[in-house]
C-alpha cells in the first residue's frame, strides 16, 4: 500500500498565517510521527482548521514550512501534494455517483483500472453496493464514509480530517470514532484530525495537541494531557478542573508547598509546573471525595471543608457542588457504584484528595479560583 515516494514524519516549522492584522496561526512548530493518529483540539477560531488547510495547500502560509519527510511542500499546489482531506462538509460531487466520487482522485492521476480499488475501498467503509447511488441519496453517516473512502483510496502520506464527524448525531459519531480508529490502524496512514470535541480527540488520537489563539498549549498522549495539564486553559478545556488560586512557596522534601485560602497544601514536585509565585492548585472533580468531617479523611489525603450547594444525579455519577468557606464552589463527581448514599443539599462535608492526583499550574497574578463547572460538557473519564 506504499505511495510512490517514501513517507516520513509531517513536520510544521514556525508555521504562521495572518489574515490582515489577525494572526490565525502563530509560529507553530510540531512533529507528527509517520503512521500516528494526531488530533488538533481547540475551540472554534483557535487556528486548527487554518493549520489543516495549510497542510492541504488550500491556504498559503504567511511564514514557515510544511515538511513531509525532508521535503518542504508548503509551496506546492494542493493537487501536487500527497495529502488528502476529508472535509467537514464532505464536499461530495453531487453530479457524480458514489463510485465516481471515490474514483475521482485515481482518475485524475491517470489510473484507468479503478473498479477493483473502488470496490475494496467501499467495502472498507462498509458501503458495498452503493456505487451507483448519488450522494444526495445517502444519509449523513454514509456520506461521511464516502468522503473518507474518496480520500483514503489515494493512499496519501497524510490524511487530513476536518471535523469529519461534526454533522453526525451522537450515536453515529461514537460509531464512526471507533470505525475511524479501526481504519487508521488498518491502513497505517498518518491521520491528522481537527476537532473541537475533546472526547473525540481523546478517544481516537495517539497524540493530542490542544490549540488556543493560534498556538499549541500542550501536546501529548490523551491521558498525559488529562492527568497533568500544563496550563489552566488545558485543564479546563479537557474535562473539568477545580483550580484554586494560591501561592507556591518552594520545596519541602519531594513536595511543592502551596498556600491557598488560608490553608497549606502540598503536591509532589513531579506534578508541579512551577514551584514559586502565583499558582493554581488543581484537582479533577472525580479525584475529589466527600466525607462527613475532617476526622474521616484517610491518612495522607488533603482536604477542604464546605457545604453541598447542588447535587445533580446523572446516572453513572452524581455531580455535587460544594461551597467552600471562602465562597468558591468545588465540583465533585461521585461514581454511583452502589457504595454510600446520596448527599443532600445543605449537608456539611469535607472534600479530600490524594496529593498525587493534584497538580500545580502557573497562574497570572490576580486570577481567581476557576472552579465553575462546564455543565453542558459531559465529563471525561467519569463515564464508562
Amino acid at each position: 500500500m506504499g505511495h510512490e515516494t517514501p513517507a516520513g514524519d509531517l513536520r510544521l516549522a514556525n508555521l504562521t498565517k495572518r489574515f490582515g492584522v489577525f494572526t490565525a496561526v502563530d509560529d507553530l512548530s510540531l512533529t507528527i510521527p509517520q503512521g500516528s493518529f494526531f488530533a488538533l483540539l481547540g475551540a472554534s477560531g483557535c487556528g486548527k482548521t487554518t493549520t489543516l488547510r495549510m497542510i492541504a495547500g488550500l491556504e498559503q502560509p504567511t511564514g514557515g514550512q510544511v515538511l513531509l519527510g525532508d521535503r518542504d511542500i508548503a509551496g506546492l499546489r494542493p493537487y501536487k501534494r500527497p495529502v488528502n482531506t476529508v472535509f467537514q462538509s464532505y464536499a461530495l460531487f453531487p453530479h457524480l455517483d458514489i463510485h465516481e466520487n471515490v474514483a475521482f482522485g485515481l482518475r485524475r492521476r491517470g489510473i484507468r483500472q479503478v473498479t477493483d480499488q473502488v470496490e475494496r475501498m467501499l467495502a472498507l467503509v462498509q458501503l458495498e453496493g452503493y456505487g451507483r447511488r448519488k450522494p444526495a441519496q445517502l444519509s449523513g453517516g454514509q456520506q461521511q464514509r464516502v468522503a473518507l473512502a474518496r480520500a483514503l483510496i489515494n493512499q496519501p502520506q497524510v490524511l487530513l480530517l476536518d471535523e469529519p464527524l461534526g454533522a453526525l448525531d451522537l450515536k453515529l459519531r461514537r460509531q464512526m470514532q471507533i470505525e475511524l480508529k479501526r481504519i487508521q490502524t488498518e491502513v497505517g496512514i498518518t491521520f491528522v484530525h481537527v476537532t473541537h470535541d475533546q472526547e473525540e480527540a481523546m478517544t481516537m488520537a495517539d497524540t493530542v495537541a490542544v490549540m488556543n489563539a493560534g498556538r499549541i498549549e500542550q501536546l501529548g498522549a490523551p491521558a498525559e494531557l488529562y492527568e497533568y495539564p500544563a496550563t489552566a486553559f488545558v485543564a479546563n478545556f479537557l474535562g473539568q478542573s477545580n483550580l484554586l488560586a494560591g501561592d507556591a512557596g518552594g520545596h519541602s522534601g519531594g513536595d511543592v508547598l502551596v498556600a491557598a485560602h488560608g490553608s497549606r497544601f502540598s503536591v509532589p514536585a513531579g506534578r508541579a509546573r512551577v514551584d514559586r509565585g502565583p499558582v493554581f492548585l488543581g484537582v479533577r472533580p472525580e479525584k475529589l471525595h466527600l466525607v462527613g468531617g475532617p476526622d474521616q479523611v484517610p491518612a495522607g489525603h488533603q482536604h477542604v471543608g464546605g457545604v453541598v450547594s447542588d447535587a445533580s444525579y446523572v446516572g453513572v455519577s452524581t455531580q455535587y457542588l460544594v461551597r467552600t468557606a471562602w465562597g468558591s464552589e468545588l465540583s465533585v463527581f461521585a461514581a454511583n457504584s452502589g457504595v454510600g448514599g446520596q448527599l443532600a443539599v445543605g449537608a456539611t462535608v469535607t472534600a479530600h484528595w490524594d496529593p498525587r492526583h493534584a497538580f500545580v499550574l502557573p497562574r497570572e497574578s490576580g486570577a481567581d479560583d476557576q472552579t465553575a463547572p462546564l455543565l453542558d460538557e459531559p465529563p471525561v473519564g467519569v463515564a464508562s
Binding site: 495547500g57 493537487y79 482531506t85 462538509s89 460531487f93 489515494n154
Partner: protein, 303 residues
C-alpha cells in the same frame, strides 16, 4: 381520521368529508393554471392554428382577392427551395454569435457569481441595464459604433486589421456582433444562476484530489453549471435565429436572415402562404435542433 377509521364504511367508499376537502384542493392547481392557459389559447394556440391554415392556402391568391384553402402542401418545398440560403445563414450567424457569447458570457457569469463579492449586484444590474432601452435603439447605437467614419473602424484601419476601404457596417461581422450583443444577457443570467449555487468547497475538494484548476473546471464546474448553460444557450439561440432587426439595421440584403424574409413575405410582398410556411419551417428546424441538443447535452447528468 382515527375517529373516522372506526366508522363502518364499506371498503370502496371511504368517508365522505375528507374526499370533498381533498377534491377542492385537487382542483386548485388547475384553477391556478386557468388564466395562463386561457391567454395561451387565445393569443398563441389559435393564431398558430390560423398560421398553419394560412401556410396551406392557395399561393395564387392575394390579400385583396382572398385566399382559398387548397391544402397546398407544395408551399413548403417551394419556400425552402427559394430561401434555403437564408435558413443556412440564420443558423450560421446565430451559431457563431452563440460561440462568441459563450466565450464572453461564461467567464462573465462565473466572475459575477463566484468572485464579485460585494460588486455582485452592481454587475448584475450592468448586465441587465441595456434592456432598459429598446432593442431597436440599442441596435441603432451599434450602427453608429460600426459606421464607416466611426472611431472603431478608424482604429482598425490604423492598425491594418481593416484595409483602407474596409468596413464593418453592412457586413456579416456587424450582424453577428449585433446578435451577440443583443442576446448576451439571456445567456449570462441563467448561467449566473447556476454558477451562483456552485459550492467553492467542491473545487477545493477537486484540487485536493489531484485535479488541476483546469481539470476541476472540466469535471466539476462545467457539469454543475449545465442546467444554466442549457437554458442560456436555448434562450440565446432561439430568438437569435429568428431575429431580423440586426440583419436589417446592421447588414444589407446580402446578410438577410430568415426573419427578414418572413417579415417581407407578410408585410411587403403580402404573400401570406409563403410567410406562414417559412414560419413553420423555422419552428420545425429549431425544435429539431433543440431536441437533438437536449438529448446530447442531457440534463440527466445534472443531479
Amino acid at each position: 381520521m382515527t375517529a373516522l377509521a372506526q366508522l363502518p364504511t364499506s371498503s370502496g367508499e371511504p368517508a365522505a368529508a375528507p374526499i370533498v376537502r381533498r377534491g377542492r384542493y385537487k382542483l386548485l392547481p388547475y384553477l391556478l393554471l386557468l388564466p395562463g392557459a386561457a391567454w395561451l389559447l387565445v393569443f398563441f394556440a389559435l393564431p398558430l392554428l390560423q398560421l398553419a391554415a394560412a401556410s396551406l392556402y392557395d399561393p395564387s391568391g392575394s390579400l385583396s382577392t382572398g385566399y382559398a384553402m387548397t391544402w397546398a402542401f407544395g408551399n413548403y418545398p417551394d419556400a425552402l427551395q427559394a430561401y434555403w440560403p437564408h435558413f443556412v445563414r440564420s443558423f450560421a450567424y446565430s451559431a457563431i454569435a452563440l460561440v462568441l457569447a459563450l466565450l464572453m458570457g461564461y467567464p462573465l457569469a462565473y466572475a459575477i457569481a463566484q468572485k464579485a463579492g460585494r460588486w455582485k449586484n452592481l454587475l448584475l444590474v450592468a448586465v441587465v441595464a441595456p434592456m432598459f432601452t429598446s432593442f431597436l435603439v440599442r441596435t441603432l447605437a451599434w450602427k453608429t459604433i460600426l459606421s464607416d467614419n466611426g472611431w472603431l473602424v478608424g482604429l482598425l484601419r490604423d492598425v491594418h486589421l481593416l484595409g483602407p476601404d474596409g468596413r464593418l457596417l453592412a457586413t456579416p461581422v456587424a450582424v453577428v456582433l449585433g446578435l451577440t450583443y443583443n442576446f448576451l444577457p439571456f445567456l449570462v443570467l441563467p448561467l449566473y444562476a447556476s454558477l451562483e449555487r456552485l459550492d467553492y468547497r467542491l473545487l477545493e475538494a477537486a484540487n485536493d484530489l489531484y485535479a488541476s484548476p483546469l481539470r476541476a473546471f472540466q469535471k466539476v464546474t462545467l457539469p454543475l453549471s449545465m442546467p444554466g448553460l442549457i437554458a442560456g444557450t436555448l434562450l440565446f439561440f432561439i430568438p437569435a435565429t429568428g431575429d431580423y432587426i440586426n440583419a436589417e439595421l446592421l447588414g444589407t440584403p446580402n446578410q438577410y436572415m430568415i426573419g427578414n424574409v418572413i417579415d417581407s413575405a407578410f408585410l411587403v410582398r403580402l404573400d401570406y402562404p409563403q410567410g406562414a410556411a417559412l414560419s413553420f419551417l423555422l419552428m420545425a428546424a429549431i425544435l429539431a435542433i433543440v431536441f437533438v441538443y437536449l438529448r446530447k447535452a442531457g440534463t440527466e447528468e445534472v443531479l
